[in-house]
Structure formats: C-alpha cells, structure tokens
Amino acid sequence: MTISRRSFLKGAMAGSAASLIGPGLLASSALAAEGAEVGLGVWKTSGSHWGALNALVKGGKVAEIKPFGADRHPTEMLNGIKGLIYNPSRIRYPMARLEWLKHRQDADRTTRGDNRFVRLTWDAALDLFHEELERTQTDYGPWALYAGATGWRQTGQVHSCGNHMQRAVAMHGHFVKKVGDYSTGAGQVILPYVLGSTEVYSQGTSWPLILENSKTVVLWGNDPYKNLQVGWNCETHESYAYLEQLKAKVADGSIRVISVDPVRTKTQNYLGCEQLYLNPMTDVAFMLAMAYTLYNEELYSQEFIDAYALGFDDFIAYVQGEGDDGEAKTPEWAAPICGVDAEQIRDFARLLAADRTQLLFGWAIQRQQHGEQPYWMGAVLATMLGQIGLPGGGISYGHHYSSIGVPSSGASAPGAFPRNVDAGKTPEHDNTDFQGAASTIPVARWIDCLLNPGETIQYNGSEVVFPDIRMCVFSGCNPWHHHQDHNRMKQAFRKLETVVTIDYAWNATCRFSDLVLPACTQFERNDLDVYGSYSNRGVLAMHKLVDPLFHSRSDFDIFTDLCRRFGRDEEYRQELDEMGWVKKLYDECREANTALSAAPGGDEPTSSMPDFATFWKDGYVDFGPGENWVRHADFRQAPEVNALGTPSGFIEISSRKIGRYEYDDCQAHPRWMEKAERSHGGPGSDRYPLWLQSVHPDKRLHSQMCESEALRATYAVQGREPIFIGPEDAEARGIQDGDLVRVYNDRGQLLAGAVVSDDFPSGVVRIQEGAWYGPVGPEIGALDTYGDPNTLTLDVGTSKLAQAPSANTCVVEIERFEGEAPAVTAFGGPITVDV
C-alpha cells in the first residue's frame, strides 16, 4: 500500500477526532468501512462473542482492536483478541497422537492424554479421518459414532463450525446425537412442564419496562454485569445502558435491588444493591418457607391462581405439612438449612408481595443436583405473587444472557451454512440401525454412556439405552472443559478407539484426542453475523483480517476436502465458495426483510438493506431499535387463546405428567431434597467443608480465551487459575492472598492461586469454569497444574427428569501448597514427536 500525504492527513485527523469524541461516535464513518486508510494500516470490521469490533491490520498482522461504534460498553476481553490470534497454544499443523498413529484401534489407550503427537500433512490427516469414519460405519454402525456434541462456535454464520462438521459427517453416515446443553440443562427440561416454554433462551420483558414499573428487582443467583459481557452473536452490550439506569435508580431509592446469593457478586458491587445471603444449594427450602409465609399471611393472589394455574392444592398441602413428609415448611423449618433468620425470610416474602416485583433468575441454581426444583419453585412463587405477564413483574430466567431484555428489532436475521444433508440426499452409509440403542442421548450423560454401554437410564419420561460408542468427532467443542469429573472422563476415554478434534487452539480436548486438525480463527476468514444478539440490531460484515496462521484452514475448506474423499465435495459446498456463501446469506436476508416490510404492518427500516457490495464496504447494516415487550402478557390477556405450552395450557404448580413418571428425585410438585454433598453442615461437609462454585468466568467465554496470554496475566496467580476464598477460611488454613494452593476432594486435585476476597463468606470458594485442564500426566488422579474446577466437580444427573449437569454440587478442601510446584502443562500445544 502506498501512503499519500493526503491519506496520511486524513488518517491523522480521524485519529485525533476519535480521541476527542471517543471511538463510539466515529466508528461508522471513519472506522467501520473496509479499507479505510488510517496511517500505515487498514481498518476492517469483524466480530466475536466478546463484541463487534474494528481491527487495524498492518503489514499482514492485526495491530489494534477497537470496539465497534455501536458498542458503548465494550468488554475488557476485547484486549484478549490479539492474544487469541497470536498464541503459543494455536494448533499449527494437523497432528496425530503417536501411539494411536502406530496402532490405531489396537493402541494402548492408557496413553491417551500423554500429549505426544506427530505432525501430518493435510492430505494424510484427512485420509485418516475418512478411513476412521469408514471403519466405524463399516465394522460397527451409526451407534458407534458420536458427533453430536457442539459448543460455542466462533461467530460467523458461514463458517459455523458445528454446522460444517455435522453436515460433512452426516453426508458420510448417521451418528449418535445429543439433546440438552451444559448451561441450562435442568431449566430447559423442567420449565416446559411448568410455564410451557424452555424460558431460558426466550426473549424477556424489555428493560425499559422493568426500569419503569418494578419497585423491587430480585437477582437470584444471578450476575448479569459479569455474564452480559459475552453473547451468542457479535455482542454490542446494549444491556449495560439499562444496568446503568438501574444503578441510578438504586442510588435514588426508586427501585430496590436484592441479590439473593451466598457471594457478593460483581453486579451487586456495581449496582451498590442489597444482598440476601443464604447457604449454597438451599434455595428451595428458602422458597418453600416464602410460599408458606405468602399463603398463611394471605399475601398471595388466589384470583391469579384460579384463572391461570393448576395444581396449587397438592403443592400447598405439602407446604402446610399435610404431605407425605408431614413437615410444615415454616420459616423456622427453613432457617437452619438456609442460614437465614426466620423473620428475614418472612420479611423478604412480604417485600415481594408489597409491590411490583421482577424476579430475575440466573442459571447457577439449576446447575446443581435437583436443579429442576429451584426453577420450578421460582415459577410457583411468581404465580403466587400473581404478576406474571405484567410489565416489570413475574419471572425471567434469562436477563443475564446475550442481551435478553433488549427489545428485538424484529428484522430477519441471516441464515447459516446448512447443518443438515440436503433434502432428498442420503449419506454414503445409509444405515439407521442403532441396534436397539438410543440415537440421541442426554448430553451430560455421555460419559456414563461411554462407561456403561447397553445400560438403560430414565430420561424425561422415556428410557434411553446407551449405545456402544467407539469414535467421537468434536469441532469447536471442548468437553474437557465443560464436562464434570475429569478423572472419570479419563477412564471413559479409554473405551474410545478414535477421537478426532477440529479446533484452533490446543485445549485439553486436543490432548485427549487421537487426530487433531487446525481450523483458523474467525479473524482469518470472511463471514457475516448478527450484531447485538437478542436485540438483533443489525448485520455485521466479518472481514478476513489476516490469512490463516500456520497450516490452519477454514472449517469450510477442511470439510469440503473431507467430502472430496467420498466424492461429494460439490454437493457439500453447494457449488459455492466462501464469498459466494457470504453473499448468498446476505442476499437471502435482504430478500426476507424486503418481504417483511412489504407485508401488512411492515417496517420501513429493514426494507432498505443496501446491496451486498455496499454492505461489505460499509461493514454493517443497522436494523434500528425494537419495541418494548412484556413476557407472557398475551397469556395474561387471553389465557385460553394464548395458552402456555404446558400439558394443560396453564401454569402447572403441580404436574400430573411428571408425577406419572414416578421419579424419586423429581416428583409431582417442587420439593426440598438434600444433596449428595453440601457445605454448611450438609452431607460430606465434615471432610470437605468448602462449597466450590464454578461460575461462568469474568474474563473468558467458558474456556475460550483462557489461552490469551496478556489477558490471562491480568487474573492468574503465580501462573495458575485463581481460587476465590473468604478471609475467615483463608486464615483458618494459613493461606495468604497470592499463595499457591492445592484444592482437592475424593475425585481429584488441582493447583490454583489464592485470591482472598471479602466478597466470599465462610464455606464458599469459587474457581471460574473454563480454566484449561493441564494434568501432569495421563494417569488417573494426576494433579491438574492450572486449575480446572471440573477436575473436582460431581458427575451425576440433576435428576431422572433432565439428567443435566450438577457442577455446582461440589465440596472440597484447600491447603497451602508446599514444595516445588510442577510447571503448568495446560498451554503451548502438544509434545511434538518426530517419526
């Protein structure tokens, strides 16, 4: 590129204006356009789960990242993007595990996890991939192949990695799929029975209406200020403007915000709001005592229950002590379980009934054993309060996620590269005989499945027979982060003959794989996506910033080449190339929005999407803001016509349908049940007195970006993942802030760095999930050198209903680590072996 004096001046002026006004206002004109020359580089548009962004590319390298103009509340994690691209943990070449390469299915599988790998050419690697798919389909059948697990793909609708992997593998043969996920597993199964929708991923009442109408806002195990930093699409963090307003209303006393949480959360500290402490995992006992108070003090709405709900009588009999356990759920009964005074429970119930109350539940309390119960109980409380369907009332299970609560633009969003085999086509191996085993398994039970093929489990009213899985394929999916109890996983992985992983960074799943293929990052290919997540605020161009690093390739190229091995590459990519797909998705989106705006009541702004070339040059199309909306208002207005999706169409306080399943761990109405292990005097707390919570991280998206070194340096302690501990517990164990500690229970052990914080009460510690697993070796029980909490967590289903993960049911002990600490093995890729 040549620099003229004029372009240099233009760049300098844009730079100085930006520093005066800030990046926000100028982004659309000076920063967003592709190829806008500034000084010695080119600004391009791209986006990520951490935010839409503008990147300065200089000399073929990403030199600088700035938030996209529309993002007024960018996350600090944008600082991690450069470190994600240029990273020692990047997968550089296709690699095969040495022992596996030599012996394949006859390999000594106790070596899996030894991290000793051999470099391959792409041709050799894809031949191996294809051979193993062939072998699995031919020697076994579709029951032996698990390619169902997917994760938080990088943003971009064309290169969505799960779509590519599953389409290509499905064109070759059928495979075992999954149902559910690790974030909301219990919630998404119980709430359809109760409120008639999965709720957890549903758009919620608009923030402006909450700010306008609510008098009390309850954050129940909910930390939106932390969790809204990331979004499913290219975030623009619109929710933060509303949190700012909420903070102001807390300050002027017009809204009371109460955080029901054992820990003082980031949100609480930001808002300056109140906290109601209760012992971990005792929410249901607490809520039952609230129901007792509401009922006996006649603070509940019988009218609402009569018109909108069923099954109150059975439930309230249980609360009153007329159930099978004969125990009244009085505040006095709950107080010792919850660690809260009985009078405080009463006051809290009275407060919620006094005026308009918006309940905002986080996902943490359903990621524990019996996680169905607190969510069900939350819906029951909201029903008793009778404010469901009113602006600023009722219950939400999603306002901490992906800008839920920001009004949706209503525009049509771009589609994606197809995940499925084209209609009318069949796979190379069109064998759908799963030999009596399930073709779909509850996702969090797949390690059980590997360990116990042929076993039958109960799941959501049906029986699931575990298939005998021999081969797994993962793409942009890191089960060695998200699944519980890594030592149990090690055992299970020894059953597998072949594990293929496609990713851009050498995470722990690569370590436990046999064949690893390097995909490029989203910044090394062209794509497009929505910006604004749930607000669906516009379409963002994701310009390729730099060429794929090392030998990495786009998912599109990788799987086109895999399909070429069975002669179906043209069908795979539908005869289009990368830019052809970007343009196709844009044009289809434009057409859909034109049709929308032509329809009666159509919207003007969406009808004016520019042609593709203009969009690509501008970097984005803005759909404009959406309109305020109230969740369940239609149901409240006409319950018959806008019936809920429950069996009866009404809110089901008791569910006869669930009752019929006759599950001991999820019965016909919400109940308090003791956990397998629990701190604060609960089971197992004599040996392991500390509750370990593994919340969503503050400076990562799950395990993504843990490898980004400069960002990690801002939070790691002695190079290890921090463990947060209260001053009382730290002192009792002689632990100082900054100490290296060993955290352990019967399931495993890890090293972490202590952060002593007043935010944590006695008996509660936190390691954020997504810390990369780095065991000292492949053997079971090996010390984890970096500090992945899933080294310690419990791997049981929430109940027979949802069979979801119970990560937050976990107790541990901590000690100061003495002696020489082993080096961190989590980062930096494999041990490369020459053959």
């Binding site: 998404q188 209609a423 009318g424 399930a438 779909t440 049709a595 069996p647 006869r656």
Partner: protein
C-alpha cells in the same frame, strides 16, 4: 312479416339461373374469404399490440411481463400475451375468445381502470387464469417446456428435487410457478415462499360437497354465507368437511375437542391434545345453538381438565383448502429443519409428544425468521408427527 315470408320463399326455391357448380364455387370462395377474414381478425386479437391496446393491460400486466425472463433472455425467445393466455387448439381458442369478451365489457365500463381497482380485482382475475391452467395441465407452458425434454443433470440440485417428482406426476406447471410473468396478488405476498406456493395451489382446488379438505392457511370463519358476521378463525392444516358452496363462500363442518374450562374458545384436533384447529369468538363458543356437543366432561387424567367433543358449522372463503395434508407437512418439515439447524441439531419431531412441542417450540422460535403463519403450520406439523403419532420414539 311479408318480407320475411318472401325471403323464405326465395331461399326455399331451387336456383333457376345459376348452376350448382357456380354456387359451390362461389360458396367455397366466399367461405374462404369469410374464414380467412375471421381468422385474420382473430389473429389480430392475438397480437401483443391488440392485447395491450386497452390501458388496463398496458399499464399493469404488460409492464410486469417486461421485467421477466419470458420477455427478455439470452436466447432471444419471447412469449407474448397470447402464447400463454390463448389456447392453441381451435375449439378452446374460440371458447376463450368468447370469455374474453367480458374483458371488453370491463374496458368499456371501467371496472379496473385505476391501479387500485386493478389490484383489488387482481386476485379474482388471476384465479380465473389459474383454474384454466389447472384444468388443462398448464398446456400453454408445455407448448414450449416439455417434461420429456428436461435434462435433470443440467439442473441445480434444488430445482431437480422439485422438478423430477413434478414430471412423474405430470403436474400442472402453474401449480408452483404462479407469479412467473406477472406480480402476485397482494393478498398472497408472503415471507415464506414455500408456504405461499401451497396457498396459491389451494386457490385452484375444486371443492366438492361432502368431501374432506385441509386448510392451507388460517381462514376467517363466519356465521353467514355473505361472510359479514365473523365467528372465529380456522387454523392452518385443519381437517374440514365441505357441506355447501355458494358463490365465493363455502360452508364447513369442523369436528373437534375442547377444554371445558374458561369459554371453550379453542377447538383442538383430538381429546387431550393441544393441537389447535380453530379459535372461536367468545359468544360463538358459548352459543349452544352454534356448537353441537357430542360428549361432555371427559377428564384428561394428565391435567385433570374436563374436555368435550363438539362440532361446529361455519362459513368461510373458498380457495383456501387442499385435498391432502402431505404437501403442507412436507413444507413444514423442510422449514423446520432449515430454520432450526442454523444454530443446533433440530430434535426429531418424535422426540417429544404433542403437548410438549408447544413449549419447546415457543422457547426457541424467536431465533428463527419464520413468519407467524409459518410458525403455526410448523408447530402443527411437529405435534402431528410427535411421539403420540409414531411408534418409534427416540
């Protein structure tokens, strides 16, 4: 009368001065001249110039045609008005010409002389043409486009997927290709082209009394044949029996179940199953004279709610029903798979039961671009292909 009688006598009397040969020759020549003139005149009415000589044609449909591939293409072949709208065989042509005289009436009396009037009338006009195409298997299209000459390998996969089965059934082209040369009537504009295709097909389906049909879209229901008193809405893909047709209206019988809680406004496909068939207005739902109840107070053990079996007879528009539900299900299934797999593997329809699907669907549908009518259809498809309707769950 005298003159007529004289003429009759003259005509009756055998010729005296002219030979039979002359008569034959003159008659023959006269016939040729007349026939030629008639045909020439008729051919004139077949030219583009004649067709667009009235401004209704010129300003509307003619302009639209010029935007399409039938007007301008790389091969330089052009279809003019008569190629598509006038039958090529003589008898049909004459019949069509006689019908067309109505258009002359229209031109003279200004039935469609403004764009607004034309738009208002467009659906009706289009429906006439579509029924003609339906009846003759789109013969005018097939004068040029022949199924037997189609090279499947030269087609895109997607085109082939639709065209090959159509060829096997020798399906009428315009079943799918409505709007290929002119704009579609506004009432038929749709965000979902697949569904719009079926709605269009329904406009040319003949309704026989006593037969069973399925709604291709949601349809307003009325108590009277004139369709002035609205009684509710019939949902998409609902089974109805045609009792009577009158002008543009049809009298439908709907058999259903409903919950005996509230006003009983929602009619459902079957006992205990929340698959909705129709939504009635409150006073209709409560009107014992309108609703015939066959069974009452049948308790659904799963919810404890009492249900009743009912039937209701109401009027609705014609042209909104298909003979079978399969095509609707096919469209819905494809839409479901395409829309949901954007983000995740879509669960098999039989993964949930009919009463669980509304919950699963409503929790996720906000992520898709499905229009409200499409959502209604897709949900019904999922419910009617759920574990309640197939043997092999999982």
């Amino acid at each position: 009368m005298k003159i007529l009688a004289a003429l009759w006598n003259t005509l009756k009397r055998p010729p005296v001065h002219i030979s039979l040969g002359v008569i034959i020759i003159v008659s023959f020549l006269g016939g040729i001249i007349f026939w030629g003139g008639f045909n020439t005149a008729m051919e004139v009415t077949n030219t583009e110039k004649f067709c667009v000589s009235c401004h209704e044609m010129e300003n509307n449909v003619y302009q639209e045609l010029q935007q399409t591939v039938h007007w301008s293409n790389r091969s330089g072949v052009r279809a003019i008005c008569s190629d598509c709208h006038v039958p090529h065989n003589w008898t049909d042509k004459i019949a069509r010409k006689m019908q067309a005289s109505k258009e002359v009436w229209g031109a003279i009396f200004g039935t469609i002389d403004t764009p607004e009037k034309f738009e208002a009338k467009r659906l009706e006009l289009a429906q006439h043409e579509w029924s003609r195409f339906k009846a003759n298997g789109s013969q005018e299209c097939r004068n040029c486009h022949d199924y037997d000459s189609m090279d499947w390998n030269a087609m895109s996969d997607e085109a082939r997927r639709f065209m090959e089965p159509a060829a096997e059934r020798s399906q009428s082209c315009v079943d799918c290709h409505k709007g290929i040369a002119h704009q579609l009537p506004q009432q038929m504009g749709s965000v979902d082209p697949l569904l719009a295709g079926l709605v269009r097909e329904a406009t040319s389906v003949r309704l026989d009394e006593g037969e069973t049909y399925y709604s291709a879209k949601s349809v307003d229901l009325y108590t009277d044949a004139e369709r002035t008193e609205q009684a509710g809405v019939l949902q998409v893909a609902t089974e109805v029996k045609v009792l009577e047709t009158r002008d543009d209206s049809v009298k439908l019988a709907i058999a259903a179940w409903r919950k005996e809680k509230g006003f009983g406004r929602v009619l459902y496909e079957d006992f205990g199953q929340n698959i909705s068939s129709a939504v009635l207005d409150k006073d209709i739902a409560q009107d014992g004279a309108m609703i015939e109840t066959h069974q009452s107070d049948v308790v659904d053990e799963l919810t404890g709610l009492p249900w009743g079996q009912v039937s209701v007879t109401l009027w609705a528009e014609k042209g909104a029903y298909l003979g079978k539900r399969e095509a609707l299900w096919e469209t819905a299934g494809q839409t479901y798979r395409d829309a949901c797999s954007v983000c995740h593997t879509e669960p098999a329809p039989e993964h949930f039961d009919a009463n669980t699907w509304p919950a699963m669907f409503s929790g996720m549908v906000g992520f898709t671009n499905m229009s409200a009518p499409t959502q209604e259809l897709v949900l019904k498809y999922l419910q009617m292909h759920s574990s309640d309707f197939v043997d092999a769950a999982h």
